[in-house]
């Protein structure tokens, strides 16, 4: 019976994942293709890539390519993290027993932990790839301000995707544990 409800509750989160996933994959594909111009390149040039490349005479393309790769990597990894944590919670929520009085409040702690772990992992990812790490060649070309902007962008996008997935996918009897989700319009 639980499996039936579970499969049923995966439909709406699946639609959310498909929409956000499509945007995410398209964007990362664009980044991995090393574009030479366009809005993304303009954004990177104006807000992300350090001006030091100019004083060191480094051609912009030498920096833009690696930065696009780093950015693309973080977009793909962020998507994977969001899917794992979002659908992970959706599945787990169906197996939580909240029949006892006050138990839903206890289970809200699990949701908070899951959400915090998700956000924390995204932040660690950003720290790892944007803020001066040496694993990726492109990291060295990103300024502190640029790294902050990319991090905020990733967080906004994937936190929204995660929240929609858990909002629409959490088992009905457990919705009270998902903030603001006890009653949804349209009897969803």
């Amino acid at each position: 019976m639980k499996i039936k409800y579970l499969i049923k509750s995966l439909i709406y989160p699946g639609i959310v994942a498909a929409v956000f996933g499509f945007l995410s994959i398209s964007f990362s594909t664009l980044l991995f293709s090393n574009p030479e111009d366009g809005g993304v390149i303009n954004f990177l040039a104006n807000h992300v890539i350090t001006g030091e490349i100019e004083s060191q005479g480094t051609p912009f393309a030498d920096a833009a390519g690696p930065v696009c790769n780093v950015f693309g990597y973080s977009v793909v990894t962020g998507l994977a993290i969001t899917l794992i944590f979002g659908f992970g919670w959706v599945v787990i929520s169906h197996f939580l027993n909240v029949d006892g009085p006050g138990k839903s409040k206890i289970y809200s702690i699990y949701w908070i932990i899951n959400s915090a772990a998700f956000a924390g992992l995204l932040i660690i990812l950003s720290l790892f790839v944007f803020f001066g790490g040496t694993t990726f060649l492109g990291s060295q070309f990103i300024t502190g301000g640029g790294a902050t902007k990319l991090t905020i962008g990733l967080l906004v996008f994937y936190v929204l995707m995660y929240y929609l997935i858990v909002l629409l996918g959490t088992a009905r009897h457990n919705r009270s544990s998902v903030l603001l989700a006890f009653k949804l319009p349209g009897n969803l």
Partner: protein, 453 residues
Amino acid sequence: MGTIRTILSFLFLIIFISPSLAKKCNPPSFAKVSTINNKNKVSDSKKNVFVFFDGSQSMDGYVKNQPGEKNIFIDLVDDLTQIAEIAGPTKYHRFGKRITPIDENQVVQVTKPTFYNCQAGASDCALDNQETRLDLVFKAAQAGKDSTVIIVTDLFVSSKHLVGSRRATLVRPLKDILQNGKSIGLLGVMSSFKGTIYDIPKKDGTEATYSGAKRRPFYVLIIGNDKEILDIKNKITEQTLVDYDKKNYKFSIITSNLISENLNSQKFFNNNTFSILQNTDLKVSNDINLPTYNFSISRKKKRLKFDVPLSKFLIKDSNGISEYKIVENIWSTNDCSKSWSKFKEIQYSDVSASDENLSVRLFGTKNLDKLFYGRQYFAQVSVIANKIGNNNESVFSEWDVEEQAIEDFKNTEPVDFKTLNLKKILRVLNSVAEEEFKPTLIAALNLQFDLEK
């Protein structure tokens, strides 16, 4: 499916392949620094030597014995004539208001008081031996381009001779002397003195005399090539001053050619010059001794450093260098098939000097960790002596007295008398040397390296 495979391939490349350039690219094209020493070569043939003795009346105090004090002047003049004659055919002169030649046989008279006494009509003599026309001697030295000039004097020059047109007449021949690659050695020796010092300027504009001094410095100026100057100075110190207390004599060379030999000519650079570089491939161009170091280095190493003793390239006892400069050009590339990109702002290396050593820190101002790793760099670095120093002013300051202070100094009845305007004279000499000085290469080297994380 194809897109996913492309993405996965990219991911694999990003994660597992660390960027590095395995081979060294062809260096960028740039103007090579000339490492050839432009210094005038010393000819082995013997040169004419001209010796000038100051005949002013104040000088006679050096040749009279002062009980209890060592008379070094007489010994030095005796030895100096020998040293000069070994150096080459020697001609002797006496100077005061004008220059007059001295017969070889009469040179011994220099050590006798009669040499400084009036021999002709009193009025003419007074004018002749109370003036020290150094400018005339410098002019003579300037005319004898391929000769060595030695001047023995008390260097007592009043301020009026160091300003305006009199200064110009002093400076003009000095400029020519230094322009011709010659230098001026100044050996000051404190000697016994028993006589009268004339023309001591007073504050009211009149002049006074002083006879109470028992010791007073005299000076031997040697004009010639650095090597000749040092040879003569060394012979004087080895023969005459060997047992003389070192605090009683001082020496300095005023020259516009401070660099004896640049480090490239000395083949200073080798595989051990930079201690942090292991397995360096060092190539030195045969024609100009320009080293190019090829290596890979982690940006964590931050900088490359080498120290070199000043004595290795700087003329000993010279005025020293007050300002060093690094001239550098840096290029980088991440692909040998592409052209090198030249840095726009260059302030990566620095140089500093202590009393003993010169320290050159390549990437000392902006460290290697400020450069982008995963690229190959080519750096062309030259260390330049940019400005001449004025060490001799402090060396001789102990024996200097200024015109405003000499009356008060005289009133203290000093036993050791000082030299009027000595520092001013040195400043004149230094300013000429500074004008003629051209920034000179100390060392030039190239670095070609892969910068790793």
